[in-house]
Amino acid sequence: MQKSLNIDPGKCTGCLQCEMACSYEHTGTFNPSRSYIKVFTFHHEGRFAPYTCTQCDEAWCMRACPVDAIGIDASTGAKVVYEDKCVGCKVCTIACPFGTINYSQATGKVVKCDLCGGDPQCAAACPTDAITYVDADWTGYDRMMASAAKSLPSAEANA
């Protein structure tokens, strides 16, 4: 069964434990600046929004890659970067309209959420269930449709 990250910003307290867990899982250090999930702060509203790759079907990053360095993890459906193939050209970082694949100066490669191979550490670390890893069908089709219609005018035309 395909699962996906479900993010409920209303539950986020901005504790950044997801960023700590993500950076530790992927780099071996507690360094939020190297986390693949990012908590955005809305000072005016006093709100927080964790955000990372949604593993979108369009896979703009994968299509734009000139050297076939991004593929699909068959078990999780995650789009993953093959570090041995990535040359660090950064074309994917401008192709992804969500801004969720980024260049790492530390490694000279691009990095993105890989769902931790099916055990996402951000979800495990979140103390308020703002990030959960659930059956993809439960992430709220209506919410996704509404979001898509807002963010992609062409989605409305095709609906």
Binding site: R47, Y51, V67, D68, C89, S154
Partner: protein, 417 residues
């Protein structure tokens, strides 16, 4: 159905794969005239730096990929296209018929009108063959002159610096990458390069190149200066490679004119990538965009239509990302702004940081940045989805770095209204 694709770059390969997804039974052949398996020019800078083997530039694993998808790869030069008889003639004299033809022949480097360009020390940087010549001549301690500080020139600077050469760059424009970055951003790149020990000459051109003996050449500049070099690299832009269809019924301008289905004026002939002049997202005009994301978008849409699906392109967004000896820059859409539009910027030259946003009303239409690597893609998202930023524009005008926050607040349910 027989599909022929001329050109083995990203546009051609993506088109072939898309055709196969749409139609398991059709015949697909990619014809390319270079001796290597289909490869990416985007990867050449990393090959020059010895970060990857030559095989690291290949678009796909050539051992299995094309055979497993039943895509034939033919290494031959195409001599002629007969659009009336719907066939192409190859250099070995054989011919191949097609039902649908895709021209994805890319572009060729422009040779500037400079005497001495035919000397053996002068090379362009476009193909793997060029790269091998550059690697051979760019020996540590040797003098190298790069003509042109456009995208290609800038992206190979780091490789040349790392090869330990003494490097001079000559650019006709008043700044580096004038077609991708504005004065401030281009100025930051110039300062950065000078700090890295590169001899940068802007608003300057090369008058002539002459043999100076001992394997060296002398490069004469328009400002009266003279440079000695063991290698001269020309990177003065590229031009759509339309030679195959010149003199046919296919309409040409800067490239092959294509409609939103990537179809040329001949309904059975399509074009994609650097050779195609298709709709630009920002202006609605027909423009050649010689960039990787446009090539793959074009390839996919051409293939969908060749396979009988009706798919119209909303236009490609011009965008670039560039790493100039470690300083990363990018630009999107109408980064130079529009008449009557607003703009905002954050400029911190001491830290080599710059971000500039261009609005038309409440919509972001262009952006450029230097020294920013995180979440830059969202600039594309904001521009291409034409999000109404009425509630965020004032905040962005005050703090142009808050683009991700603006995007999230405009598109996600944040748990508050």
């Amino acid at each position: 159905m027989q599909h022929l694709i001329i050109g083995a770059g990203p546009a051609g390969v993506v088109a072939a794969e898309t055709l196969r997804k749409c139609d398991p039974d059709c015949s697909i052949a990619i014809i390319g005239d270079e001796p290597e398996p289909p490869y990416s020019r985007m990867a050449i800078p990393y090959y020059l730096i010895d970060n990857i083997e030559e095989s690291g530039t290949y678009l796909r694993d050539p051992r299995a990929h094309f055979a497993s998808q039943n895509i034939e790869v033919v290494q031959q030069k195409v001599d002629a296209v007969d659009t009336a008889g719907k066939s192409v003639t190859l250099a070995d004299g054989s011919s191949r018929a097609y039902d649908k033809l895709l021209i994805a022949t890319g572009s060729n480097p422009i040779s500037p009108p400079i005497p001495g360009l035919d000397l053996p020390q002068v090379h362009s940087c476009w193909t793997l063959e060029d790269s091998r010549n550059i690697i051979r001549l760019a020996q540590p301690g040797s003098n190298v002159v790069l003509i042109g500080a456009g995208f290609i020139g800038c992206i190979i600077l780091e490789a040349l610096v790392k090869r330990g050469v003494n490097l001079a760059v000559v650019e006709m424009g008043n700044r580096m990458v004038p077609r991708m970055l504005d004065d401030k951003a281009g100025g930051l790149l110039e300062t950065w390069c000078k700090n890295e020990g590169i001899d940068v000459h802007t608003s300057c051109s090369v008058q002539s190149i002459a043999d100076a003996g001992n394997g060296q050449v002398e490069v004469e500049l328009s400002d009266g200066g003279k440079l000695s070099a063991a290698l001269v690299i020309t990177a003065t832009g590229v031009k759509a490679n339309t030679s195959l269809v010149e003199g046919t019924d296919i309409k040409l301008d800067q490239g092959i004119l294509v409609n939103r289905r990537m179809q040329s004026s001949n309904p059975d002939v399509y074009a994609a990538g650097d050779v195609a002049q298709g709709v630009d997202f920002s202006t609605g005009n027909f423009e050649v965009q010689a960039i990787q994301p446009t090539a793959t978008d074009h390839g996919r849409i051409a293939a969908l239509n060749m396979a009988g699906r009706d798919d119209e392109h909303h236009g490609t967004l011009n965008m670039n990302v560039l790493d100039t000896v470690g300083l990363i820059s990018c630009s999107f859409g109408l980064w130079m702004g529009v008449d009557g539009g607003d703009s905002t910027e954050l400029y911190n030259p001491d830290e080599f940081q710059y971000i500039n946003l261009q609005f038309d009303g409440n919509t972001l239409v262009g952006a450029s940045a230097v020294g920013k690597t995180q979440h830059v893609g969202v600039l594309r998202g904001l521009i291409e989805s034409k999000i109404d930023l009425a509630n965020w524009k004032d905040r962005l005008m005050a703090d142009p770095t808050a683009v991700m926050e603006a995007y999230l607040a405009s598109t996600q349910e944040l748990g508050y209204s």
